[in-house]
Symmetry: C2
Subunit: 181 residues, 2 copies
């Protein structure tokens, strides 16, 4: 077992030229009122790795170009398509017009686990809310469904960029039929 070298890994990845021409996965991430530049940058990095279609930033979520986002994203803010809507509702309309199913990643009375998404539900958008208060009720009421990550400990929730990664890579597995069997 040998760790791959920098150059060996490079050959496995797309180049910045190639990335503009590939078919992206039909997964969107919507970031509503995320406060932390660090979380936004980290989610961009995940979005690059997962080859999601778009990152949609709304409300007071900081958006590129910002040095701090670029630094945490390691430049992934330049390899992932993104758009910003000041009004959350306009972003939701933009998604609905494209028949993208909108899933809130939130603790609701619905309680549907994040691993229950099925392939028929793509294209889909995973909505992520504020670090402290989650997704505003007004936004939640316009989502099609909600999913959550089971929590087995004492604390309420995961870091938002970690939760985004877990839900996004689960969606990838469903879309690409990746499983162990």
């Amino acid at each position: 077992m040998r760790k791959l070298l920098h150059n060996e890994i490079l050959k496995l990845r797309l180049t910045e030229e190639q990335i503009g021409n590939v078919m992206r996965h039909p997964i969107y991430l919507m970031l509503c009122n995320i406060r932390s530049l660090y979380n936004v940058g980290s989610i961009f990095r995940t979005a690059d790795a997962a080859l999601v279609s778009e990152v949609i930033l709304t409300g007071y979520t900081p958006h590129p170009p910002r040095k701090e986002i670029e630094k945490t994203a390691l430049g992934a803010d330049k390899t992932v398509p993104w758009r910003y809507f000041k009004e959350h509702k306009k972003a939701l309309i933009y998604l609905k017009e494209q028949n993208i199913k909108i899933f809130a990643l939130e603790i609701t009375d619905c309680g549907k686990p994040y691993y229950s998404i099925t392939k028929s539900e793509f294209p889909l958008c995973i909505v992520l809310g504020n670090e402290l208060t989650g997704i505003d009720n007004e936004i939640l009421s316009l989502c099609d469904d909600s999913i959550e990550i089971p929590m087995f400990g004492v604390k309420h929730s995961l870091n938002v960029s970690v939760a985004a990664g877990i839900a996004t890579f689960e969606a990838i597995k469903v879309w690409l039929n990746l499983n162990n069997t």
Copy 2:
């Protein structure tokens, strides 16, 4: 669809008293030479949510008590058992003595996907390496196997706390037989 209130969520979680007496999942996280207090704190928060058995911090990974870890972990450094070994090798011996299978989360020539872990491989430890350089070759050579998260974009890797979350919750799904079918 209604967001649960703070008090409603509280009732779903374990209390700090209960957490000491529960059977934890047979999953260990080993953090080798992680640099960022933020990442350590975030991984503690994930470890609480996933009810892992222990977080093992080695080398120059910062360890509790540190205000910055506590802040990012939202106090999860107090609800998750942890231990610190200055020498990575001693931590690996500690794990091996308990027959815990050691998986490096690393890009190697092995290329086994993170979702290929099977239930027969528990108890297991997921080893996480430095933010820039990954897991040292010396540590890697003492791991039993390596797993990786598929990367579809331009960038080399995910943020380490995001990668830890993805791999940990996949292990949880395997251990608890959580799936959609």
